[in-house]
């Protein structure tokens, strides 16, 4: 690696080099090279199965890399974990779990208080402030099994907001939420951005992409294009991402799988 390159890596909140990931031997991400500048509101966009969620998981070290490296603020994820807040897909958990909204938000502190730490009144205060921000303060004591989809998403975002993070990773926060929740989420993301944070959001709806984000990563098993919204969001790139089958990559991926696991 050239010296200038390593200098650059240190300045980026997120930097991926030659990252390849395979799931059950089937490659899902190919040689991803990506640098996300600080303070951007980034849309991570691509068709189903393009590897968007996988990419978030890889960034947090939840997926083994076949090759390549991921750096956050120039360091490994384990070193800067406290600077990253993750909002998983809300369908990834069972909302019938016996807990209140406040209980879930307080989970945002568990990473910091450690194995035997205690939740203090100050933590509760901060959790309530986070709930206030997402407009859920009055639901703090509500059982999570009674929440609507939008309220579930707000609860998850509130949990992330309790973390003093510089990079926020959101996995499909807009999936099946009501319009007012969508607006509230966008509003909060913008205020985070104004506070100098970097936000990366997996998103599905192409119509709202240019409106919500100012930086775009188009993904379909590889990074098709990445850059500022104005110069990246255009027909040709979208065509490359969505249009036509990604025949060659798809075929090679199939072939590898067939050969290795008959």
């Amino acid at each position: 690696m050239k010296k200038t390159d390593s200098m650059e890596i240190q300045t980026y909140p997120l930097s991926m080099r030659e990252v390849t990931i395979a799931y059950h031997r089937k490659p899902v991400l190919w040689e991803v090279n990506l640098d996300i500048p600080a303070g951007k509101l980034v849309g991570l966009v691509g068709p189903n199965g393009a590897g968007k969620s996988t990419m978030l998981k890889a960034i947090m070290g939840l997926m083994p890399l076949l090759s390549g490296s991921v750096h956050l603020f120039g360091k490994s994820y384990a070193e800067v974990r406290h600077r990253v807040a993750y909002v998983p897909q809300r369908e990834s958990v069972d909302w019938d779990f016996p807990a209140s909204v406040l209980d879930v938000v307080l989970m945002g502190f568990y990473g910091r208080i450690g194995w035997l730490g205690r939740i203090t009144r100050q933590h509760q205060q901060q959790a309530m402030e986070a709930l206030e921000r997402v407009g859920m303060a009055e639901y703090a004591q509500r059982q999570i099994s009674q929440l609507s989809g939008g309220q579930q998403q707000r609860t998850f975002l509130a949990r992330a907001l309790t973390q003093p993070a510089d990079l926020f990773l959101l996995d499909e926060p807009f999936a099946a939420v009501d319009a007012s929740t969508e607006q509230a989420l966008v509003h909060i993301m913008r205020s985070l951005q104004q506070a100098g944070k970097t936000i990366m959001v997996v998103h599905h709806d192409l119509h709202t992409v240019p409106e919500y984000f100012d930086y775009l990563v188009l993904l379909n098993m590889r990074v098709v294009a990445a850059g500022p919204m104005e110069s990246t969001f255009h027909q040709e790139n979208l065509q490359k991402t969505y249009g036509g089958k990604l025949t060659i990559l798809e075929q090679v991926s199939e072939a590898i799988r067939n050969r290795e696991a008959p």
Partner: protein, 460 residues
């Protein structure tokens, strides 16, 4: 044994007169508490059947330990050896499941089935072998399968008590990590919690509980004690901090009562007794549990439904009276004077005659209507007022739906019917503000022909 002997025996057991009984009760009680707590986590992690596979996987270990003991010239009944054997194959079984799931693409349920049947089959095979040994003192081993608190001695109980106390302590110390693991594995991992190790720890706790529980509950019924109290406690509360002690208490109760039964009638396997008590508790919880019991649910629905019926009937009667008045051009005061035949109301609802009469008699008891014989009904003054309010709200809502939600006028009555009960005074207030402007505060007529209301066929 005559009746008074039995009474004396029962008294001896429940007043804990001898040292052995006291220790056995203490041991099984603590076993219950620890099993109840671990069971909750196991259930929330959706790994309940893992406990079943582990407990079944202990059988070959018990048999092997016995055989090794006999081969070395002993009786083979050293408790610590037997439990050590149980722990070895139990752990092996658990690891086999995790391994199959992790590294081969076998789904969890299949992995569980495979491991459970292989280990248990092996155990049964060994047990048959043991029974053919001429010395033939294999009888004690059956206690491990069905549970036999009666054969427990104070030392066994001490072992149970110390292991379960450790398990209990560990589970409570690690309450937060375990809670997070059970609720949101992905987030836990992103926060740096060692998810794999936590799962392994949970499994180790299950193994520890299962091993010391073998004597009391038996390996077949162990899963019941892990799952049933935990599932029962969910019917009473929506909060984990309350679910844990409740599940522990229910499991302890089952264990103590079951052990008592087994102490009084030594031929009853304590495992069966304990589980039957637990099932009884579960059934009571399922029906009467405050948080989501069937009875409370049913009662809530019944109350809602009868309030809907009441509102519908009052409004039907009001609209019929109103129609009659307008057709005959009677004055406004006449509303309480007009009687309506019951079968005319009946045509507007798909209710049976019996249900209609029951509802009408209930309204009469509330002083809202007056029945004239069995066929005619009219309003009292207060009934008319109440019905007028309901009708007014209904029409506001209908008008709103038609004007602002583009609902078809011919269907608006039905959609309003289904939703209007949720309208609280605050919403009615804002509806009023919107609609009143168009009607200058007058009582709006029905926005659709009233005769047509029930022609949509069976919708209810």
């Amino acid at each position: 044994m005559n009746g008074s002997d039995i009474l004396v025996q029962i008294l001896r057991v429940i007043t804990l007169q001898d040292y052995n009984t006291r220790m056995v009760m203490l041991g099984t009680g603590l076993l219950g508490a620890a099993t109840g707590v671990i069971g909750v986590f196991l259930l929330l992690r959706k790994r309940a059947l893992l406990g079943d596979a582990i407990s079944h996987a202990t059988l070959p270990g018990v048999c092997l330990a016995f055989l090794i003991g006999v081969a070395n010239g002993g009786s083979g009944k050293s408790m610590s050896m037997l439990l050590l054997g149980a722990a070895a194959t139990g752990l092996l079984g658990g690891l086999a499941i995790l391994g199959l799931r992790q590294f081969r693409r076998i789904k969890e349920d299949a992995a569980l089935g495979i491991v459970l049947s292989i280990f248990f089959g092996l155990g049964i095979l060994l047990l048959t072998l043991i029974q053919q040994i001429p010395e033939g003192h294999a009888a004690g081993l059956e206690g491990f399968i069905y549970g036999k608190t009666a054969s427990m001695i104070a030392e066994d109980a001490m072992l149970i008590a110390s292991v379960t106390s450790c398990v209990l302590l560990l589970a409570l110390l690690l309450y937060r990590p375990l809670q997070l693991l059970c609720f949101d594995e992905g987030y836990a991992a992103s926060q740096g919690w060692p998810v794999l190790w936590l799962d392994g720890l949970l499994m180790a706790l299950v193994v520890a509980i299962t091993i010391v529980g073998l004597q009391a509950v038996g390996l077949i019924m162990m899963i019941a004690l892990l799952v049933i109290p935990a599932a029962a406690s969910r019917f009473w509360t929506h909060q984990l901090p309350k679910m844990l002690p409740l599940s522990a208490a229910l499991a302890t109760l089952s264990c103590l009562v079951g052990a008592t039964i087994s102490a009084i009638t030594p031929r009853v396997p304590s495992g069966a007794a304990i589980v039957l008590i637990a099932v009884g508790i579960f059934l009571v919880s399922m029906f009467f549990g405050k948080a989501r019991g069937i009875y409370w649910n049913w009662l809530r629905n019944w109350k809602l439904k009868s309030s809907y019926d009441r509102e519908h009937l009052l409004r039907d009667l009001y609209e019929l009276v109103e129609l009659e008045r307008d057709q005959k051009k009677l004055g406004k005061q006449a509303l309480t004077d007009i009687s309506i035949p019951v079968d005319v109301i009946e045509k507007r609802r798909l209710w049976s005659h019996g249900r209609m009469l029951r509802l009408l008699y209930r309204l009469q008891l509330q002083g809202l209507v007056l029945m004239q014989g069995k066929d005619l009904v009219r309003f009292t003054a207060s009934g008319c007022k109440e019905a007028e309010r309901l009708t007014y709200d209904h029409r506001l809502w209908e008008l709103y739906l038609m004007t602002y939600a583009d609902v078809d006028p011919m269907r608006v009555d039905r959609s309003a019917d289904d939703t209007e009960h949720a309208l609280d005074p605050e919403i009615i207030g804002s509806l009023k503000a919107i609609i009143d402007k168009e009607w200058n505060g007058e009582f709006p007529p029905s926005p659709h022909p009233l005769e047509s209301t029930e022609q949509g066929g069976a919708k209810r």
